[in-house]
Symmetry: C2
Subunit: 354 residues, 2 copies
């Protein structure tokens, strides 16, 4: 067995995986790893509202560190919400038990043009401060991840407001006023570039773009609207840190998703990683992709399924993760089994498995 | 232009399309065409609860006929709910504004074995009576469609009960007790066969199986569980009427979906029909696939998008439909534009479009 696994820090491991390297073991973390399945998170949330946690660096740092301390994950993602930039652009934001609500949605060119660019360091300084403190607390050996929504997905929330039945409102805006909608995407893209650059300046080792709702679009609209906007963000970050682009239920879009320019594509469980690698080659690293529902299954099933995913890429350019955020109610010991299985699965130099 | 379009009844048109024929024009209907977007439906529902409408043939017939009278659609689907068989198998059913609820979900082998087979003609006779009356009312020239959930999708509701966050409960059942889960699917399949045969005996010209949630599964689980169960249903109906198999967000499953044995595959808007036809050949007819959100767009955009779909298959083995149920709030005149555009788009004998 290689001694590389001992000599590499978690951050080196993570960044090499982003670059497509073959590694003795893959880095492992979980989307929404700071969340409701952890008793210590629920205890803190019993005393503090969701947005209060996002906007209070002490609390955001504590919650971000919880999964690292308990589960020994290989990356720490800062606790925040993808709608924070929407609020900073001028939209009132409510995050309640019924899900997020933007009571003044953007549904006209006028409303688009009223959106303001914001200064991330002063207006969302709580997030940058949280990242700086996490970096100090975790030390230089651990990668800290920043994130934002991809433009299309943030636009969905900004236009729909609360309900998303069929995404009819945002699609109607797109079809009825394509130029205004494109301007919305561009404004979001510009704001997102500054927002992510500030996170990188604060110490983020990599950033992830969440395109949770891109799968609602058919290919022509994805190519015409969502893709150029996310390409704009990614290309502006090219000389900084690796960008991970997460898409959900996007199997019909994968050839275009691969053109986004991201170093890493984060896939849900519907994608066979081996087949996708064969299609796009090994220049793009892949992240994922255990179905979070599998974390409710018996331990042996979790181990088997996780190993099956690891074998698909043979440790080459792979960050092990879930295919979507960890679900509330997930048994903590099952999350631990997933993390440990990933970390203990060693690849030989021929990358032929354990 | 061929005179065939004049001489063929709607039913002949529909059945020929199911058989893969090239037609002078394609038949058109809409999933959930009897529904909340129609003022006459809302007026009736203001006086009668959803389940009351399903179980009262007078009301079910009236609601089923409404879109035929108003929009001149080419097929009438009987008004009912996919959860009716769950109730008939022994599960209490509540259909409220918050969506369907099965307060006694099936989560063990014991619960699976307590499910009863039911006699469709006596225990869900209201549906068979509604079909008979629709057939009498509409006459022999109009196809009347029956339907049921595909086994996996009904199992999702039966196991989850109300919430479906991540479909964790049903997937946990599948992974933890695969034999018990398979027995559940088989019992559903057996009940569904009798239920659909009764609908066919009552006069249904074709039946549709709704697999709304198959897209939640990755390919291995779809092949191991959902597919065999739906194949069992379809093969039992082979000598009767055409079966239409609807799947949603199933792009990653399409090669397996094509093996279900259905005469017609009903696709959502994420599928490029021309590409799918090229993959599976012209022996399987296709139904779909306008994004129902497009019905909120300007009329010209609706016409253009609809024509684009029609051109993909050139009138060969195609039933024009939406990619998912019509959304509440859809302007009726836009639904009409969709139907009329489909019916007026004529194909020449070379199937090259108009």
């Amino acid at each position: 067995m290689s001694t590389l696994s001992v000599s590499l820090s978690r951050k080196e491991l993570f960044l090499r995986a982003c670059k497509g390297a073959a590694l003795p073991r893959v880095p492992v973390w979980m989307m929404r790893q700071a969340g409701r399945y952890l008793p210590e998170y629920r205890a803190l949330r019993a005393k503090h509202a969701f947005l209060e946690v996002c906007k209070t660096p002490d609390l955001a740092v504590e919650v971000s560190m919880q999964p690292f301390r308990r589960l020994d994950v290989d990356a720490i993602i800062v606790f925040s919400d993808i709608l924070i930039p929407a609020e900073a652009m001028g939209l009132p934001l409510e995050l309640g038990d019924a899900g997020p609500n933007l009571p003044e949605p953007v549904r006209s060119l006028d409303a688009v043009r009223k959106l303001r660019q914001f200064d991330p360091e002063t207006e969302t300084g709580f997030l940058m401060e949280a990242i700086r403190r996490i970096v100090r607390t975790a030390g230089t050996d651990v990668p800290v991840l920043g994130f934002a929504a991809a433009p299309w997905t943030l636009a969905c929330y900004m236009v729909e407001g609360r309900t998303k039945e069929g995404f009819a409102t945002v699609k109607n805006f797109l079809h009825s006023e394509p130029l205004a909608f494109r301007e919305l995407l561009q404004r979001i893209a510009q704001a997102t570039i500054l927002y992510l650059k500030a996170q990188i300046a604060a110490g983020a080792s990599a950033v992830q773009l969440f395109d949770t709702w891109c799968g609602e679009l058919a290919m022509p609209d994805y190519r015409a609207f969502a893709l150029p906007a996310v390409q704009e963000v990614i290309s502006a970050l090219r000389e900084t840190v690796p960008v991970i682009y997460y898409t959900k239920a996007s199997h019909h879009l994968l050839p275009a998703v691969a053109e986004a320019g991201a170093e890493v594509l984060s896939c849900d469980w519907r994608v066979n990683l081996a087949e996708f690698r064969e299609t796009i080659g090994s220049k793009i690293a892949l992240q994922g992709n255990l179905d979070p529902a599998v974390l409710f299954a018996p331990q042996e099933h979790i181990r088997q399924t996780t190993r099956g995913i690891l074998e698909q890429l043979g440790g080459v350019g792979h960050i092990l993760n879930l295919g979507h955020g960890i679900l509330p109610g997930t048994p903590v010991e099952n999350a631990q089994t997933f993390i440990t299985t990933g970390q203990q699965f060693l690849f030989t130099e021929t990358a032929s498995g354990k």
